[in-house]
Symmetry: C2
Subunit: 180 residues, 2 copies
C-alpha cells in the first residue's frame, strides 16, 4: 500500500529533518513552468541550480497552456501578484510523453477503463489533451501564450528552455530578456 | 541575471551528473497533485520518501481543481492512460498562499501592473483565482473533484493529505482505499 509507505517514510523524515523556517516568497522571484514527468523529480532542481525557497514550480502534462484551460495562467497570476515573482521560465524536455499522443489509442484506453462514450465525445480529445508535434515548438508556444495573457505584466521576462532528459543539459529556446 | 545563473549551474551539473536512464512510467504508479509553493521544492519528495522515477508531480497554485479549469484533470488523464498511474495523492500544506486571498487587493495589484480594468472585470476574480477558506477543506474538495471526473476510472484511489510546512509532518485527510 503506497499510502502506508508514504506515512512510514514521513515519520522517519519528521524525526530527522531540520527544516529552516522560510517564507513563501521565492528568493529568486522566479516561477518555473515545467512537466509532470517523473524523470524531472529530484533532477530538475539540481540541473537548474535551484534550491528550496528560491522558485515556485508549476507542473502539468507537457508544460503546456492548453487552449481554454487557464490553470497555468491562474497560478502565474498568484505567483506574480501574491508572491512577488518577476520572471518566468518555461522548461520543456526531450522525449516528452505528450508529444504525438495517439488520440485514438487514448480514447480506446479510456473506454476500456469504463469512461462513457458520451463523455469522450464531449471532448475534442486531440485538442483537449494538449498533445504537440515538437517539444521545442511547444515550449515556444507556451512562452507565447504566457506573454499574450492579459492578466500578467506585459514587461515580465518569459524564458523558454529545453532540457535533455538523458543528460540534463539545457538549451535556451527563448531568451526573455531580448526585445524582439 | 537569473537565466545566466541557471545556465552556469547547468554546465556544472552536466559535467558532474551521472543520470541513470529510466523510463517515464512512474514505478510506484503514483500521481501527486500538490502546490507550487517554493517551500515544497526539495522538501516534498524526502517528506514523502519519493524518488526520481517513482511518481509524476502536478503542481499549481493551491493544489486545486479550479472550476472550469480542466488542467489538473487533463494531466491526470495523461498520467493514468499514457503513463500507467493507478493511484493519486492530493497533498496540500499549511500556511498556503491561496488561503483567504484578498481579492480586492489582488485586483488593485493587477491594475497597478498595467492589467486593463476590462480584463479584470471579465474574470469573476474571487472564483477564478481558486482561493479557499481552509487548507483541509480545499484538499477534500480537490479529492472530490478528481473522484467525480467522468474521465478517470471510477475505482482509482484518491488520497488527500495535509503537510505541515514547518515540520514536514503529513496528516491523512482522505484515505482513498476506504469505500465510504
Amino acid at each position: 500500500m503506497i499510502l502506508d509507505e508514504i506515512m512510514s517514510a514521513n515519520r522517519e523524515f519528521v524525526g530527522e529533518a531540520k527544516l529552516p523556517v522560510i517564507g513563501h516568497h521565492p528568493r529568486k522571484h522566479l516561477a518555473i513552468v515545467t512537466c509532470m514527468d517523473t524523470r524531472l523529480v529530484e533532477m530538475l532542481e539540481p540541473a537548474l541550480g535551484i534550491k528550496r525557497g528560491e522558485a515556485v514550480e508549476i507542473k502539468n502534462a507537457g508544460n503546456t497552456v492548453a487552449e481554454g484551460q487557464d490553470d497555468v495562467i491562474r497560478s502565474l497570476v498568484g505567483a506574480v501578484y501574491l508572491l512577488g515573482v518577476s520572471e518566468i521560465a518555461v522548461i520543456g524536455h526531450t522525449n516528452c510523453g505528450m508529444a504525438n499522443v495517439d488520440t485514438a489509442g487514448l480514447a480506446a484506453k479510456m473506454r476500456s477503463a469504463g469512461v462513457a462514450d458520451a463523455a469522450i465525445a464531449e471532448l475534442d480529445l486531440a485538442r483537449w489533451i494538449g498533445s504537440f508535434a515538437s517539444e521545442e515548438e511547444n515550449v515556444i508556444k507556451t512562452v507565447e501564450r504566457i506573454k499574450s495573457s492579459p492578466y500578467l505584466p506585459a514587461a515580465i521576462p518569459v524564458h523558454g528552455l529545453l532540457l535533455d532528459i538523458r543528460t540534463g543539459e539545457l538549451t535556451v529556446l527563448v531568451n526573455g530578456y531580448s526585445k524582439d
